[in-house]
């Protein structure tokens, strides 16, 4: 080798894609005459190989084992530019190290590569049978393997010499035929090996990709064996022999010999799976499918195709089972089964592989195949024209029948081919069964070149794959949902239309309970020439998909129709749906999972604008809300009742905002509570202002007293839910020179106005203003003066009475007065020396009595959120008792919230952190359940629902997967039970551990 030559070729080698140029240069030297008189010729051919280094090495290895004469023949082949065959060897050797190894071992097969062609099934069967001959045992196994690979290298060569995407159907079909021919040969071997095999007629049915005539280079070959006794043979004996033959045939394919093995033969799709007998008669298959088979088994049968053995028997079998496939969709559990199967397909990816998976996961090969089969099952019952076995053929038929749009079908076809070719190239490289994109840059580069990319092949192939993945990402929308529109509206002139009946079948299979109604709504939303109809036509498929994923698709669709009817062609609405990306999705999800929001939106469609931006989903502060409310009040300066309506409308909009954000998962429990508390106190303030204005107007003079509203209970604690009442105390303080009686009257009127206007019907849900915690309860005056409160509280002697005051916080009205009231009660609720034994007993007794009396009749003591075992009130009383006892000495305990106080209690060793955790968990879960129940049902709910549907829907709102209603129940009961144990110990002072027996005789 001269340095000059090296310099001369170095650049060329690199340009044709060689990675290790010095090594390639050496190898070229070894090739001698093969390298061509003009070395250039071979080197430029190298650029055709996926991996030129590998190709070169392969040539060298091949050359070593060839005879002189053969070397000359190859040399001539490589040099002949006319034959069109010269780069066949190079492409094959460069694409697959496994096939290169095979060629070196069986070097005569280079001629087969050179003359590669795709053969028909019959030719393949004859070729394999010819090579195996009459052999049995190991010789036969070896011959079968060699013969099989002789054909395999040819198929691979044809694949590599053409546009792979274009020839994919022929290549995958040939692979399936080759597998069939191998099974045929294996069956022949088995029949020679098993004594008495002539007594049993046996057919091998190809299933899966083999049956679908679209096999991979290497994967399990799914089969079912069908047997019948030959004329005059005893059935039991024949079946026993059949089983032996089938087993032997499987061994002939799978057993590793010095020539390796073909592939695994998997007979698990047979009736009863692995537990069932390996062979069955046609009648036995029929009996099984008629009686026991599950929906997925019919889906598998869709692919069944006789591939080897007795031809007549195969035809009989098909005639028997094919019709049953199409009856599957009439089965009772079909819809549920299909939905569960779909969930499994989508969820079934190991997380660490998800980003590299070609086969599993959303938009993967399995998903495409499954979706196509599903459509075939749903519609194939009434339409024979779509009963194809192969995926590509089925896509075309479905498109022709109008079950998928034409453009979608075309793109899907393309995407499927590209994904499959990627899979083929990855498998071919080492003949390994894999469906994962490689990760190393060398492998990616090789794959990219194998896919035909020459510049930056590694990046290009990743880009290509991503593009196809994007193409199929909206697969379900395009396959399942978009065609539904064609049933009610003409989409484009090219497309065939789906019939109304088919559309109903489809909707039901997708989870709509009232397909007729759904069709009506879809029709109303999408027909016409208006801009709205045209936008909604585009949007409807994906909206339907979003609805179908939630608890109540029908509810969502109906609400969407109502809102769309109300908003008509409002321009921002259409723009939002069309342009804002996630807006339409959130809208669909909210409408199909929440009656609460749906009902409010139907009354204020304009609030739909909240969906427009995620910024809109941040709850407003009390000041922001109040400013807006006061502006609305000022605009109604003459009409107090109108002003009230304006405030309540405003509140409704804010409630919708909070609920949407909650459902969208933007807010945690604490934020929801804060938002509702802010909204409630702003509303109280705004209405109080109107009430004062109203009373002043009535009296024709200014108010003679100052008024403050003190929040109690959950309002004061800052922990309100959607359905919480506003617990309050009203306090007023007559001005210095006021007439006390007038002041009292005025205060009473203000409070009464405020309460009636908030609790009556009006825009949005009412607020129940509950002043039941006031002195003397319902018998006492509704508003008292500060002095009167002071006098009343002074009569308390035992210390337990102040419990209700623990959460008191001023929420509206005169801030100074509010502060003065708090000043008044602080020493009562946080007594310096704690509370007495007697007071402790009183509180415990009170709570025990409440537990006995307050659970509503017929209610379950466990499932009631507030009063149930381990529920909200158990947690709150435990916290409050601790505050009464210790807030005097521990200033940090002087707070009104439940959860934040729990934290302080652990810091001061008043509770172990384990106990605090259990209380917090139960309290938060009950609060979240209560909120979620309101969102789902649209009205207050006190306890775990007794219907599984409700429970499931509520679980979804809490972020649990579909169909977890029962687990949610069980989970809440467990959490609450543990919280109750803490309450038993900390509140009631019960200690279980001190109650052990000892032996009676020595006690």
């Amino acid at each position: 080798m001269s340095a000059q030559r090296w310099q001369h070729w170095r650049g060329t080698l690199v340009r044709v894609g060689v990675s290790d140029a010095p090594r390639a240069f050496h190898l070229l030297d070894e090739l001698e005459d093969w390298a061509g008189s003009e070395e250039r010729s071979l080197i430029t051919q190298l650029s055709e190989a996926a991996d030129p280094d590998r190709a070169l090495l392969g040539l060298v290895r091949l050359r070593e084992v060839l005879s002189v004469k053969e070397r000359e023949e190859v040399s001539a082949l490589l040099a002949d530019p006319q034959s069109g065959r010269r780069d066949r060897l190079i492409r094959l050797l460069g694409a697959s190290s496994a096939l290169a190894d095979h060629l070196v071992l069986h070097h005569d097969q280079w001629r087969d590569v050179a003359a590669a062609t795709i053969r028909s099934r019959e030719e393949l069967v004859a070729a394999l049978a010819g090579e195996v001959g009459d052999e049995t045992g190991p010789q036969a196994y070896d011959a079968l393997r060699v013969a099989y690979r002789r054909q395999l290298v040819q198929i691979a060569t044809v694949d590599l010499m053409n546009d792979a995407v274009e020839v994919f159907p022929q290549v995958s079909g040939a692979l399936a035929d080759l597998a069939g021919a191998a099974l045929e040969a294996a069956l022949g071997i088995a029949q020679r090996e098993v004594e008495g095999s002539e007594q049993c007629r046996l057919t091998i049915i190809g299933m899966g990709k083999c049956g679908g005539h679209e096999l991979n280079y290497i994967s399990d070959v799914d089969v079912i064996f069908v047997a019948e006794p030959a004329d005059g043979a005893d059935e039991d004996e024949a079946l026993a022999i059949g089983a032996r033959v089938a087993t032997a045939a499987m061994h002939a394919c799978t057993d590793p010999t010095t020539e390796g093995s073909l592939w695994q033969v998997d007979a698990a799709l047979r009736p009863e799976g692995k537990n069932g007998p390996l062979v069955r008669t046609v009648a036995s298959h029929r009996a099984y499918y008629e009686r026991w088979a599950k929906t997925w088994e019919f889906q598998a049968l869709l692919k069944a195709r006789p591939v080897a053995g007795d031809v007549e028997l195969g035809a009989t079998y098909l005639d028997c089972v094919r019709p049953m496939v199409w009856e599957a969709s009439k089965r009772e559990k079909f819809v549920e089964d299909v939905q569960a199967m779909r969930r499994r397909v989508e969820d079934n990816v190991p997380p660490d592989e998800a980003p590299r998976q070609l086969k599993l996961g959303h938009g993967g090969l399995r998903d495409i195949e499954f979706s196509v089969q599903l459509l075939q099952l749903v519609h194939g019952r009434t339409d024979e024209s779509i009963r194809d076995r192969g995926t590509l053929a089925a896509i075309e038929s479905l498109s022709r029948g109008g079950y998928i749009g034409r453009v979608d079908a075309h793109e899907l076809d393309g995407a499927y081919r590209v994904l499959r070719v990627l899979e083929h190239r990855i498998q071919m490289s080492r003949m390994r069964r894999t469906h994962l994109m490689p990760t190393s840059s060398a492998e990616l580069r090789r794959l990219g070149r194998a896919m035909g990319h020459r510049s930056a092949p590694a990046d290009a192939v990743v880009t290509q794959w991503r593009e196809q993945a994007r193409e199929v990402r909206r697969l379900h929308e395009r396959l399942f949902y978009r065609p539904l529109l064609s049933a009610v509206a003409r989409l484009s002139d090219d497309d065939a239309r789906m019939s109304l009946e088919s559309a109903q079948d489809r909707l039901q299979a997708l989870g709509f309970r009232d397909p007729r109604g759904a069709i009506r709504h879809i029709e109303a939303l999408t027909t016409g020439v208006s801009r709205r109809a045209s936008i909604q036509r585009t949007l409807m498929p994906v909206m339907l998909q979003w609805f179908a994923h939630e608890a109540d698709p029908d509810l969502g669709l109906l609400a969407f129709r109502r809102i769309s009817d109300a908003l008509g062609s409002t321009h921002w609405y259409l723009k939002m749906l069309r342009d804002e990306g996630s807006a339409a999705e959130t809208l669909a999800k909210v409408l199909a999972s929440s009656r609460y929001v749906g009902e409010m939106l139907e009354r204020t469609p304009s609030a739909v604008s909240l969906f427009g931006s995620t910024k809109n989903l941040e709850p407003l502060s009390r000041e922001q809300i109040l400013t807006a409310m006061q502006a609305a009040v000022d605009r109604q300066s003459d009409d107090d009742d109108e002003a009230v309506l304006a405030v309540r409308s405003n509140r409704r909009t804010e409630l919708i905002r909070i609920a949407i954000a909650d459902l969208a998962g933007v807010l945690v429990l604490e934020q929801v509570e804060d938002a509702i508390v802010d909204l409630t106190s702003a509303t109280l303030q705004a209405i109080l202002d109107i009430a004062i204005r109203h009373v002043e107007r009535e009296h024709g003079r200014a108010l003679q007293t100052r008024i403050a509203i003190i929040g109690m209970g959950r309002l004061g604690g800052g922990e309100m839910g959607y359905a919480s009442d506003a617990d309050v105390l009203f306090v007023h303080d007559p001005l210095d020179d006021a007439d006390i009686e007038v002041a009292k009257t005025q205060a009473g009127q203000v409070v009464s106005y405020l309460r009636t206007r908030l609790s009556g019907s009006g825009p949005g849900p009412a607020i129940e203003v509950d002043a039941g915690l006031r002195p003397e309860g319902k018998a006492g005056p509704i508003a008292r003066t500060l002095d009167s409160y002071a006098a009343y509280y002074a009569r308390w002697s035992e210390g337990w009475e102040a419990q209700a005051l623990l959460r008191a916080t001023p929420v509206a009205g005169d801030p100074d007065l509010g502060a003065a009231f708090i000043e008044l009660i602080n020493p009562l609720r946080w007594p310096a020396d704690g509370i007495s034994e007697a007071a402790l007993r009183q509180i415990r007794t009170l709570k025990a009595r409440m537990e006995a009396e307050r659970i509503p009749r017929g209610g379950d003591v466990r499932s009631h959120f507030k009063l149930g075992r381990g529920g909200l009130s158990d947690v709150e009383w435990t916290v409050q008792l601790c505050q009464l006892q210790h807030a005097g000495e521990t200033a940090e305990l002087r707070r009104t919230g439940t959860i934040s106080t729990l934290q302080v209690m652990t810091e001061h060793d008043l509770l172990t952190s384990e106990e605090a955790l259990q209380l917090r968990e139960s309290w938060c879960l009950a609060s979240r359940l209560r909120n979620a129940s309101v969102l789902w049902r649209g009205r207050p709910v006190d306890a775990l629902p007794s219907s599984l549907t409700d429970s499931d829907a509520i679980a979804r709102i809490l972020g649990w997967p579909a169909a977890s209603g029962y687990e949610l129940h069980e989970h809440y009961l467990r959490v609450a039970r543990k919280a109750r144990a803490v309450t038993e110990m900390r509140f009631y002072g019960t200690d279980l551990s001190e109650m052990r027996d000892s032996h009676p005789s020595t006690r």
């Binding site: 537990n275 026991w292 009772e332 039970r977 027996d997």
Partner: protein, 445 residues
Amino acid sequence: MDRQQEFVLRTIEERDIRFVRLWFTDVLGMLKSVAVAPAELEEAFAEGIGFDGSSIEGLARVFEADMLVLPDASTFQVLPWRDETPGTARMFADIRLPDGSASLADPRYVLQRALAKAADKGLTFYTHPEIEFYLFESKLRPDGQPVPVDNAGFFDHVPRGTGHDFRRAAISLLESMGISVEFSHHEGGPGQNEIDLRYADALSTADNIMTFRAVVKEVALAQGYFASFMPKPLQGQPGSGMHTHVSLFEGDRNAFHAAGSPYQLSETGRQFIAGILRHAAEITAVTNQWVNSYKRLWGGAEAPAHVCWGHNNRSAMVRVPMYKPTKGQSTRVEIRSLDSSANPYLAYAVLLAAGMKGIDEGYQLPPEAEDDVWSLTDRERRAMGIDPLPASLDHAIHLMEGSDLVAETLGEHVFEFFLRNKKAEWAAYRDQVTHFELDQYLYRL
């Protein structure tokens, strides 16, 4: 399974079966039965048979919907004692919700769940119960006391032979139902018998125990006696226990066996025992579920009232039996607290859960008890770290109430129901004015 169902339908046809009883067990371990005609069976396999769960103890409806019973074809048996044509057959059934999911209130499911949890760790739970019971004359004495059929003792060959005939009849019936019987002999009390069922996985064993009780009662009736599984029917005589030998298998390997270690007991086996002991008190309400159970438990002699283990120590709650050198697979642990009236599904579920907890958490096994625990004083026992089991149902309920292990094993629904039911039983018992009280107090006070 589906072939099994086919087999069932065929057998029914061939043997002219007119009724099939679907058996299931309520939370208290009582056998319940729904009879279906063969024509309905096919549907029962596919869809289940609907029934109103609220009428069954412990199945009270969690959700407002009917329940389904779904027959388990692998348990199909023709009932041999109704020796008549047309015949009757039975299958055990699972209880399902209308959507096909398992009912959390079904004791069989409680055990299946516990077994599945162990199976996740690759372990299978095998059990082998020795079931004791009494045979009484069908007529009670005028004072209400039962009359034992004989007065023999342990292993005696009884000349009159009532028990012998009886055992032979019962065993042949059991065998004809596919339940293998290992051993049978006369037990310590008059009229008391013991029959051992062969080793099987815990679910089969539990099914077999339910069948066993039904068979024994049937045979006794046919011979003019009655059989009782009451834990302590006769004061001053031994109670009826259900000592159960248990072991865990990892595939074909006995996970309790380790050659060369003390008693050939592996670390796993030691941890399992430690789990049973540590949680013994809180699971007692399940393994010994009646007021009467505690009269057996605290009856002295071989009844195990103390939480300890020993080798061939018949006063210990857990015994590691003599190891047979030739049978590595036979390493096992005998739990002696169980009584014959337990709900076998729940009892095996809590025992397994306690043992698995010991394995999961790597509990240390306390030292072996070598003495007769009953002969020790209270103080000696305390010094040795041997705690007593609860002495009454009341106490057992209290301990169970605080047990996460039991709640999680039984599921919240069964847990709650069980506690409520047992509290009611205790309250009813406490309301009684007993013979003891009348004898002791009526005249004296």
